[in-house]
């Protein structure tokens, strides 16, 4: 598919290599004015490189970018921004210490005649612009403390200050609650009505059907197809993305009867965060914690693991009661908690794969307290093989791996501790479809091997596909429990977004 003169954005024969790796191989397609154009593909398909080229962060090796039919080569992101192209990334590119209005206007403050910052106009303008998007945020409030969704809106409003022609949203809904995502989609609609084109990158295929007009699929740096969204089913998208038909997104799970209880949580509470949380996880069973972002699921897991010790309640492991006080203690007790943010909490990205896998077990590894490189490699090799970690060698820095392979390293690392229980927090967040099913397969293997698993996920199909039992958390309480065969997306969502009673709301002081 080629571009036409009517397109808002024309990508014409763009190619880009990093050393021997061809990240983008002569890609051409067009984005129509006032349309939402979904860009999908597995991690490593070349989407981010393409976005970086369009926004002027990187120069292409060959090819041209056309804006409204005119060739333009952006030198910097600012250059692109001034010409009307802006990208909103997953990690906010904003200033947490400054207030909302200043985040919008930084770099082009409204000025008085004396060339000083015109604060009154700045706050008024910010309030007006936020209002136009239907977003209720106090422009004088500090950015730190706003929710992820609000921070995105601030970025979008900032983008609109320049004459916005093309907005690129990179996985905008990854950290949003469903209702926040709805708000974002409403904003996208209002932008579209103003004639702004939107490139929408997402791993959540069901969203694409909802808001996209057109879909472009990339795979291995190549442009595979561009077609109207209405003509492209989710199954077709997945097929184009992986180049093969996936029978099912989820592995078949034989439901064996669960074994003895391994983890028993009783009356766990932490004032203001969660209360009266009780549940049991048995050997060979996956228990899911579903709920909206902010419901308190991660906090519950962190309490069990001792990251934030609970104020009340107990945890029993194999029948032995312990009060979680620190992660070191809970590790000894046999709990492995794999946090959501792999890079921040789970990996030392500068170190090699083997070193990362060995980190939690260094004490056992060395001879006379000294650890040799060879002993690390020897220890890590079977894990790396088992998990099919794709890398040139076990010494390759984790930083050089793709998201999916990093996740495998994290899993391998924690399994090396020979835990009794695994707690997985959003194990497939931001991972492409192909790797995702590998991770699912791995989890399913672990359960078959008898590991009890507590799985936290915002991905409802994942929860439904993987878990034997599902606990729904809302406002820091477990509000519902479903067995595998009785759970549906609707039931879980209804329980998770249960409107609180007036009493509960007023008890919170608002």
């Amino acid at each position: 598919m080629n571009t036409t003169a009517h397109d808002r954005l024309g990508i014409v024969g763009i190619a880009k290599s990093f050393g021997p790796v061809q990240a983008v191989k002569t890609v051409s397609f067009g984005v129509k004015a006032g349309s939402v154009h979904a860009l999908v593909g597995e991690n490593g398909a070349g989407k981010s490189t393409l976005v970086k080229i369009v926004t002027g962060m990187q120069r292409p090796d060959s090819g041209r970018i056309l804006l409204d039919g005119k060739a333009c080569g952006f030198e910097t992101p600012l250059d692109a921004r001034q010409r009307g192209i802006t990208a909103v990334y997953q990690d906010p590119k904003l200033f947490p210490h400054l207030d909302v209005a200043e985040n919008i206007f930084m770099g082009f403050h409204p000025r008085t005649r004396l060339l000083t910052v015109d604060r009154k106009r700045m706050y008024d303008d910010a309030a007006r612009r936020l209002g136009e998007l239907g977003v209720d945020i106090d422009p004088r409030s500090l950015l730190a403390g706003r929710s992820v969704a609000e921070i995105q809106f601030v970025e979008i409003v900032r983008a609109m200050c320049a004459d916005l022609k093309l907005l690129i949203l990179d996985e905008p809904t990854a950290s949003l609650t469903p209702s926040e995502a709805d708000r974002l989609f409403a904003v996208v609609h209002s932008l579209k009505k103003r004639g702004v084109s939107i490139i929408f990158i997402s791993h959540r295929l069901e969203e694409i059907g909802r808001i996209a007009d057109e879909v472009t699929v990339m795979r291995d740096g190549e442009h595979i197809v561009t077609a109207p969204a209405a003509e492209m089913s989710e199954a077709a998208m997945v097929r184009y993305m992986v180049g093969r038909e996936l029978k099912s997104l989820f592995v078949e799970r034989s439901s064996k009867p669960a074994g003895a209880p391994v983890l028993e949580v009783k009356g766990l509470g932490l004032p203001g965060v969660f209360e009266d949380v009780s549940f049991t996880v048995r050997a060979g069973e996956i228990v899911g914690l579903a709920g909206l972002v902010g419901a308190g699921r991660t906090e519950i897991a962190e309490a069990i693991f001792g990251v934030r010790p609970p104020a009340s309640g107990t945890v029993a492991i194999d029948g032995a009661v312990v009060v979680p006080k620190s992660p070191a203690q809970m590790l000894r007790e046999g709990i492995a908690y794999i946090p959501e943010n792999r890079d921040d909490n789970g990996l030392v990205v500068e170190l090699g794969i083997a070193s990362n896998i060995c980190l939690p077990v260094l004490g056992r590894l060395g001879a006379a307290g000294l650890i040799s490189h060879a002993s690390e490699t020897r220890f890590a090799a079977p894990f790396a093989e088992d998990f099919e970690i794709k890398a040139p060698s076990l010494d390759s820095a984790v930083a050089s791996l793709s998201g999916g392979n990093r996740q495998k390293v994290v899993l391998a690392k924690w399994l090396a501790t020979e835990p009794k229980i695994l707690i997985l927090d959003e194990p497939t967040h931001g991972i492409d479809v192909g790797t995702k099913s590998q991770v699912h397969q791995r989890i399913s293997d672990l359960v078959s091997a008898g590991y009890p698993i507590l799985l936290i996920s915002s991905d409802l199909p994942e929860i439904l596909g993987m878990c034997d039992r599902i606990l729904v958390v809302a406002h820091g309480r477990i509000v519902a429990e479903f067995a595998r065969d009785e759970a549906t997306q609707e039931k879980i969502m209804t329980a998770a977004s249960r409107i609180r009673t007036t009493e509960e709301v007023s008890a919170d002081g608002n």
Binding site: L78, F95, H97, M106, T116, G145, V148, E426
Partner: protein
């Protein structure tokens, strides 16, 4: 907001929290000043006398200017530990110039400021364009600038008697009963406070310190902003060095030694975050007042000299520890909230 169930209760609480923690930080500076004054008022005889308060203000004024200069660099998430050596080189060179040109008038000020500016630019170039971590770069220039001072000094001092008379007189001059030096320091605080709040380039100083990664996307040339901050710092320290030489009896090549320590202590006591992005000049002013009060009080209490150093070091570590806690909170609020 009540019906807005999208905005979780948690995030609403947090908004209040982050504002209040910052406000609390400012209040804590004031409270520590009051505490220091209270302690010395009871433990020494002459602390709370008009005469002594004048002395404190006089001593605090130089420190205030140097600390304000340092603060601008610290807000960009950098450090300048060479300010003491800048005072030394700019001050000593200006003193030699003044002694050789008795009728040069305000050209002496210009010499001090210009040398400070050049030295600041050198620091800034090394940090912003040479990509040397600022603490390392300025630790190097701390030695280099001091070394150059030794070379041009050749071990010879400049007695204050050799300076033009107007400089000596000016140091003791008062306007409406207030020492000129104090008024100048207050003016520097007022002007800088205004600039940092209301002039776009100074707002960028905060932005770059708050999130250097984001600055690129905003088209803020972070290296230019950092260079600018170091340059302003150097020029201001140069100006301070002029005030300094008109006050001390004999200008030696050791002029300004250990001032980086005092300046940094005043900056962090004043609530400027060493991780960048926040802090205000009025806080720094109070930080300088606290340190000068302690210095003065210790003298009145006949405490041994080493206590000064001890307290400066303690203030730095203590204040930074406190700020690290606040910063963790801010970053936590800024991160993706998860459930």
């Amino acid at each position: 907001m009540g019906t807005n169930n999208e905005i979780s209760l948690l995030s609403r609480l947090n908004t209040g929290l982050s504002r209040n923690t910052l406000r609390l930080r400012v209040i804590s500076v004031l409270l520590s000043l009051i505490a220091v004054v209270a302690v010395f008022s009871f433990t020494t005889q002459n602390f709370l006398t008009l005469q002594n308060l004048k002395i404190i203000a006089f001593n605090a004024s130089l420190l205030t200017i140097v600390a304000c200069a340092e603060a601008i660099v610290v807000i960009t998430r950098n450090l300048d530990v060479s300010v003491g050596s800048i005072i030394g080189l700019a001050g000593f060179a200006a003193a030699k110039f003044a002694a050789a040109n008795q009728h040069s008038g305000l050209a002496i000020v210009a010499v001090a400021v210009a040398i400070g500016l050049v030295l600041g630019l050198l620091n800034g170039l090394a940090v912003a364009y040479g990509r040397v971590p600022s603490i390392v770069a300025t630790l190097g220039t701390l030695a280099i600038f001091r070394g150059v001072t030794f070379i041009i000094g050749r071990g010879i001092e400049v007695p204050s008697g050799n300076l033009p008379r107007w400089m000596i007189k000016g140091a003791d001059a008062t306007v409406l009963g207030l020492p000129v030096v104090v008024l100048l320091a207050v003016a520097v605080v007022a002007v800088l406070a205004f600039l940092l709040r209301s002039v776009p380039i100074f707002r960028r100083v905060y932005a770059v310190g708050s999130n250097p990664g984001a600055a690129v996307f905003y088209g803020l040339r972070a290296n230019r902003v950092v260079l600018f901050a170091f340059a302003v710092c150097g020029a201001l320290v140069g100006f301070a060095s002029f005030l300094y030489i008109s006050r001390v009896g004999t200008i030696t090549v050791n002029l300004g030694r250990d001032w980086e320590m005092m300046a940094l202590a005043a900056v962090v006591l004043g609530g400027v975050s060493t991780t960048g992005g926040s802090g205000n000049i009025v806080g720094v002013f109070f930080g300088a007042l606290i340190l000068s009060s302690i210095d003065n009080g210790l003298v009145l209490a006949h405490a041994p000299e080493f206590w000064r150093r001890f307290i400066q070091g303690f203030a730095i570590v203590g204040a930074i520890t406190l700020d690290a806690g606040i910063e963790r909170r801010i970053q936590a609020l800024f991160r993706h909230k998860k459930g």
